[in-house]
Each structure stands twice: as C-alpha cells, then as structure tokens.
Symmetry: C2
Subunit: 272 residues, 2 copies
DNA sequence: CCTTGACTTTGACACCGTGTGAGGCCATAG
DNA sequence: CTATGGCCTCACACGGTGTCAAAGTCAAGG
C-alpha cells in the first residue's frame, strides 16, 4: 500500500491529478481511511494508472479514457474512437503545419523589413451571389483608367436602384473581366433582391462562390489601392499560395470624404 | 457604422467574441450608445479585427495579440515571440506525430486481435542510482533458470541489510548481465544509502540512468513474466522503437502470496 | 399606437486538465 | 512540545468559446 505521494511518484503524476481521478471515478484508491480520509493505493493499481496516462497522452479525454478502461465500449466503438482520434490528429498536424508556414513567413518579413504589416490578410470562403449592376470598358487595370469609369458607373447603378425603390442589401461589389486587347470590362453591382423580370435596367450577373479567398481591408481612397494589393500579393506568395481568377472589391464604407473609404479586396487562391 | 451582429458577420466571428474583445480591451467599438449600451463598429475597425483573428489563428493568446497590436513590443521582442511560437508549433507537430504513430499502432492491434491490451506501456526516464546487492550466475534467461537463483539471492541481500540495520529505500532492483557462454549474471539489489566503507558484505553497483525507458507493470508470479515481456516487446516494435541494453525489474510489491506480486519492467529504447 | 420578431444588453455557467494556495488535521523526529 | 512535512478539502484561476436567461431596444407592419 502506497500513500498518495508515493504512488504519484511511481506513476509520474501529481497528487493533484490522483485526487482528481478519484473524484471523477477514474481511479479510486484501493482504500480510504474513514477517519482521516487518507488515500492508499496498491501497487497493482499502477497498471490502471499507467493505462490512464497512456490513453490520456494519446489525446483522449478523461471521460473517454474511463469509458475505454471500464470496457463500456465494444471493440467496434473502440475502433471508431481510435480512428476518429487519428483523423483529429492528422487534421491538427495539417493545421499546425499551415500555421508554421505562416509563422515562418512572418519571421522572414520581420527579418527583412523590421516589422510585420501583413497581418490583416484573412482567408475566407465567399458564397455565390446574384448581383445586379452595369458594365463599362476601361483601357487598362491602372487606377487612372479604372477610377473614372467605375465611379460614374456606381453612380448610375445607385440612381436606378433608388428610382426603382430597391433596397441596398450588402456592400457594392466591383469585379473585372479582362478583354483580349488589354482592356478590361468593369462591373459595378449590388446584391440582387429581385429577378430578371424586375431588373429596372440593370444587368444580372451570377458571381460564383470562392472556396478559398484571400482578403484584405483597404482604407482610404482608391488611388492608394495599389499598395494594399501589393501587400496581399506579397502575403499570398510568402504563404505558399497562388492566386487564381479575378479580384473583387467590396465597398464597405463610402462616405463623401474619400479618405474614409473602406474596401475589402478578395481574390481566389489555391495552395502552392 | 455597423451593429455588432453585422460587424460579426463581416469579420467572421461571433458576437460573443466581439463582446469579449471589448471586455478585455482588445477591440473597443467605435461608439457605445450611453443610453442603451449598444455597440457600434466602423468599417475601418475591420482591419484591426482581421489582425486579431489572424494572429489568434497563428496560436498567439489574446493577451499576446493585444501586446503585438498595441505596439507594446519592440521589433526585437516581436521577433522573439514569433520564433518562440515557431518552436512551440514544431514541438507540437512532433508530439502529435508521435501520438499519431501510437494511435496507428493501436489501430493495427485492434484490427488484428480485436482488443487493445498494450496500453499499459509507459515511457519514462530513470535516474542513475547506486545500489547495494549480490550477484550470482544462472544458466540462461529462462524463468526456470533465473527464478531459483534470484530468490535466494534477494533473501540473502535482505538478511544482510536487516542485520546491518539498513533501511529499505525504494523497491528491490534486479538486473542481468549476459555472459559469453550463454549464462547470465544475476544481480539483486536495493538502493544504497551508504558508501563502500559500510557495505556490510554487499557489492555496490552504479546503475546508469536511462534516458528513455519503456516500462510496464507485471502483476502476478514471476513465472508469468514472459507474456508481459512479450507485450512490452510488441509495443516497442509497433511504436517504432528499438530496445537497447538490458532490462531491469523493480519489485514494487512482494507479499507472501506470489499471485499478488507487482513488478515493473524497464528497458532502454531508442527511436527507429 | 400597438404588436411582433429580430436584435442587443449583461451576467452567469460550462467545458477540460492542471497549478496553486489557504486553512486545518496528522504523524514522526528532535 | 514543537517543527516539519505529508495529507485532507475547498476554491480559484487559466483561455477561448458556447449557451442560456431575463430584460431592454429597434424597426416594420397593421
């Protein structure tokens, strides 16, 4: 018979944990002195304690350990639990590896630039959405070419929405389709709450969903969007992704003062 | 200005978390209505929220995130934090991989044998210890050869300890050294609390420490130790280790009834 | 103006495994 | 007798998040 302290040393656990295992019925002492409440353990209980520790170290919860040890689970169920655990572990390893990549990218950034300003990139998935809007052609992707096209475009779209009494649900969405000659088709739209029969002079597009989009918030006038885009592109490269498809811009906040504008840039990416 | 619900949707977090970030001062709403307590967020705050989420996803605690975002840390410190985080991640990945190996070993065992009885193997490190005891020769490693040698040996050791009034600290330790002719030198000993000047007719050995020992509890008479040893050997193989060196046996509990004996087997292992 | 339903508020409890500390009992050694 | 150290119970803390409850607020529709 061992005291709780001796038993804890033998089993390489803390007395705190032995008391806890007692409390939750996972490992009851062989004997408890009715007068003093002192716990006594038998050497043979080490086997059970070791089983507890081994299963716990595999990542099972104490509750699961108890079920397993008390043979409350059939072989089938046990098999299922272990497979589930394996899946969880694999998932966690994969997630941690992704984190590690990200951390290392940041480390490189810090070493190179002395700070870490790529920390506003967010991965999300974007649901497909039907939008209503208008299109126009710009000569190139340059801000100087795009700006003068898209702003009146949005103005026109808003005018028609207002005239038809359509409510705005969600932010304005801009997206771009390249043309063969280097020009670009500019689309300005809002989420459509109506069908084609009621389009009030707006075109309807179905924007496909994006499984994995890298997104970043841009604050300030659209003239400055280039550097935000560069930050995003830089992040994508550093973190081992590749961009595919076209970017979208969501207008989250567009007060009269352009310095206060807030946009979210979205671009689809894939691994490697 | 967004309500907390809208802002939460934009930022892909729960309102619960936004309130929490407010409470801990990590992300304060741009405005709180003094009458109703309603929180309002500005679109520009999305950048900070995204930074919070990004850093949190890397595994930093909210406290660390706050330090980083509030620029309470110098570039040096930031660099240190990120490196530390990398080390932690690497460690966790390695640990999870080891777990995964173990889980897969168990899965194989279950599939093959329909149960999981190798779950009492424990890895530990064993400190070096000076012991006092006696040696004798047995013809082989077979239980029939060892048993009749070691039991009188322990008896004799105990006799001399008792005669000299030496206390028993810790369990009896048996270890074995093979001889060239296939025989084996059997050592029976206890931890020595005295020096060679006072060895009362016992030999002193220095048992080296074991960095990584695979251990298992054996219950019952020593005649049955073979199958416990097999379980241990099986575990070692299944989990991608290799045994090196000799085994030791610790006598944790040796009442008159041999059926109640408890021993711990220890054997040094290395990876692969 | 009133109802309704969606939203927000604060506060609390729960999870899980473990450390830590307080306040008190007990046993042994000096 | 006291000092020490082991043991007892009870309680709080960590961290990030879910969930519940009771109550207040807001906007839209009748």
């Amino acid at each position: 018979m061992f005291s709780i302290g001796d038993f804890a040393r033998l089993g390489l656990v803390s007395t705190r944990m032995l008391r806890h295992y007692d409390a939750i019925g996972l490992l009851r002492p062989a004997h408890v002195d009715p007068g003093t409440g002192y716990r006594s353990y038998q050497a043979g209980q080490l086997a059970r304690l070791n089983r507890v520790v081994a299963l716990k170290d595999l990542g099972f919860t104490l509750e699961q350990v108890r079920s397993i040890l008390d043979e409350k689970v059939s072989t089938e169920e046990l098999h299922g639990m272990v497979r589930l655990r394996r899946a969880q572990l694999e998932e966690r390893i994969a997630a941690d590896r992704a984190r590690l990549l990200s951390v290392e990218a940041r480390l490189r950034t810090i070493e190179r630039e002395g700070h870490m300003k790529t920390d506003e990139v967010v991965l999300k998935s974007v649901a497909p959405v039907r939008v209503a809007g208008l299109s126009a052609r710009a000569a190139s992707y340059e801000t100087e070419d795009i700006g003068p096209v898209i702003q009146p475009l949005f103005h026109e779209v808003c005018g028609r929405m207002d005239a038809a009494g359509k409510p705005y649900v969600g932010p304005g969405i801009a997206h771009y389709v390249p043309e063969d000659d280097g020009g670009v088709l500019v689309h300005a739209s809002f989420e459509a709450t109506f069908g084609p029969e009621d389009a009030v002079g707006l075109d309807l597009f179905d924007l496909p969903g994006i499984e994995t989009a890298a997104t970043i918030i841009h604050r300030g006038p659209m003239d400055d969007i280039g550097s935000t885009f560069q930050t995003l592109a830089h992040w994508i490269e550093e973190n081992g992704y590749r961009s595919v498809g076209l970017a979208r811009e969501l207008s989250l906040h567009c007060p009269p003062d352009h310095a206060e504008w807030v946009h979210e840039l979205q671009i689809e990416i894939t691994k490697a």
